[in-house]
Symmetry: C4
Subunit: 220 residues, 4 copies
């Protein structure tokens, strides 16, 4: 089997989507680039989270074509593939319809950075991507155009949901989890008034520290 | 025992209602038509979800009369039976009082289609059905009048809750799960402003693709 | 040990408070009258829900005095005792600070009956009781004055939380679970507008049917 | 190993943060002072809650320097250390970004005391602390300036999250759990109107009773 270690990682990480209530039924997926190969591992389409194993993961090439697997790849495979083709630094992609992030996306609003945890993880707002239909490269293009050169590792695709990226699938899952967490907290804050802004200088300091100091001391 | 495979399926699917927090105490139920017979299997009345087994499921005829079972059938049996009598293409029915969907129902509002996942699964808005009292065919008639010829597989019964249908009970449970998920996301979106509409053409394209392309590639 | 069967029932029913997220830490309690004796069984004070057993339950007389038990009885014992002294038809009492019901209580508002499930279980609105301090019979008096002769089996004590009653502790726990469920659904409905009223005649019909027809067919 | 009993207590108490949904990923931490020594035990940085054991806890001195441990201490260690240095009566500190409390913090609002459970546990409002950046003693100073001489055992740090204190880590965890619980209930109450105030005299009576009478009768 190709990409065995990545199959195990990707299969297991779906449990985090379930644990943090980011997904219902089969509507979310994780993928991971196979190191050193032009391949990625992704969730099979329509298989429930309880039934995911390293063996039933699907391997695709960077055009999203099935390379190895008994099931069809996730219906979101084209978007994942586009990201891997166009962002070589990305090693993991996650897609969810998590409730609060998707609510911001339904209104077409970016999430403003009013929490120190957002400054740490996202370095500022979580941006809005375009409305795009499934079926061609529109979604992938929207993700890449929004996130390329942006600090944020997550994008709210209008009327749709969230895509997050990372250096590996675990990092992308963390971004998906944190995105929903801050989407919910900022939503709740806004329900009763206006959250206080954080000065751009402070956002920059927090982001620098978290990405550098924190990262060096703690590899996980 | 009659309808053994369907007893097993129906008993097991109630766990999905619990998993997704669609029900409290004993207030929701799943039924499934027995293939090739004028019978359906339904939850027994007042039995807790922990105690459901294939053996204690109840079998009814299409008028809702008890055919086999030690317990009384669910108090919602007449509504299920009416659906099976009048919609021969339906193989599964689910009823819940799930929170967000029931809140739309309490205000008497359909859920507008502002999420691509709604376009996929429901093909547009989730419609409102009439206020109807339990005790005769009023609820069943309200379900059938609202859903017959409608893309949506779920209806919000005014001041009451949700009924969903499907080609089999698993499909009806999926519709109940997705109905609450989109009811919650659209509610949250609306709390802070107006969600952006999706053009009817785009809704149509998404629905067609999901029901056809997606379905063909992924049988589950 | 006195009241053995009731000790087992009361200890076990606390798990339902946990399951439905009605309580945090040790802040809610169930009690049950010992049939044929002027005694009731109640949760020990300050013991976590994980550690409750039939053996560490506490037995009190109807004045709330400790009769049997190694721990002190719940700090809410006086209120439970007052209910048992003054409402001989009551066999179980539950107290929680469940979130949505307590929010209505904090505003000093009864929950209007806009859901058929509320009409079934409570026969109308869930009423508001007075603000009362712990330490004497004030809370018990407020509960009894509000619920005596009222259809509702639950009362929202102002700025405090919920007390519910039933013919036995399971029935009181069901009322506590349903109270939070409808408190949440009606809250969510009201967030985006006014729920539609249900006519008093229809409320009466639903209540009569649920208490009579439904009850006769299904003893549990 | 130093502080063995405290390692076990601190490692185990993190499960309460998970149980009550106060934390996601690795973003919250518990610490406990080692009795009779100028040391405290704290969560290692970046280790998931599933993997915490007494052995992988970290021991620091009261300046926050690592004394014993294979991992780096939590990135919030300096704030914990500052509290232990400046509040000798404190034996446990907890930090979370729990949703509702952090939402009040994002708006820069204290939580008003409109629930008897708040009067019991916090003796009044839960106060707001200053905006402070990580990296020096600013956060610790903000906590101590806000809580020293205040009845409340929890502080909302502006745009950040919650710190809570107690005579031991269990007591600090209880305060963190109760803080989120009342933050959520008061938020929900305020969504539909103004909660009723509780008179200061009544708050004082409730607080006195809970800290004294309740405490004496029930040591846990």
């Amino acid at each position: 089997m190709r990409g065995e270690a990545m199959r195990t990682a990707v299969a297991g990480l779906h449990a985090e989507l379930v644990r943090y209530n980011l997904v219902v039924w089969t509507a979310g997926n994780v993928s991971g680039r196979v190191p050193g190969e032009d391949l990625f591992v992704i969730k099979p389409s329509g298989v429930s989270y309880d039934e995911l194993t390293p063996e039933n993961m699907v391997v695709c090439d960077l055009d999203g074509n099935l390379v190895e697997g008994e099931h069809s790849p996730s219906s979101d495979t084209a978007a994942h593939a586009y990201v891997y083709r166009n962002m070589p630094e990305v090693g993991g992609v996650v897609h969810t319809h998590s409730t609060y992030a998707s609510a911001w996306a339904a209104r077409g609003e970016a999430i403003p950075c009013v929490l120190t945890a957002m400054a740490d993880e996202f370095g500022g707002e979580i941006p809005l991507g375009p409305f795009a239909l499934i079926g061609d490269d529109s979604i992938g293009q929207g993700i890449v155009e929004t996130l390329k050169g942006h600090r944020s590792k997550a994008v709210l695709m209008q009327n749709h949901g969230v895509f997050s990226i990372g250096k590996d699938p675990k990092s992308a899952v963390k971004a998906a989890v944190m995105c929903e967490d801050v989407a919910r907290t900022v939503h709740v804050a806004r329900q009763l008034g206006d959250p206080l802004p954080i000065a751009q200088d402070d956002i920059d300091r927090l982001y620098d520290r978290y990405q550098n100091v924190y990262g060096q001391r703690s590899p996980r």
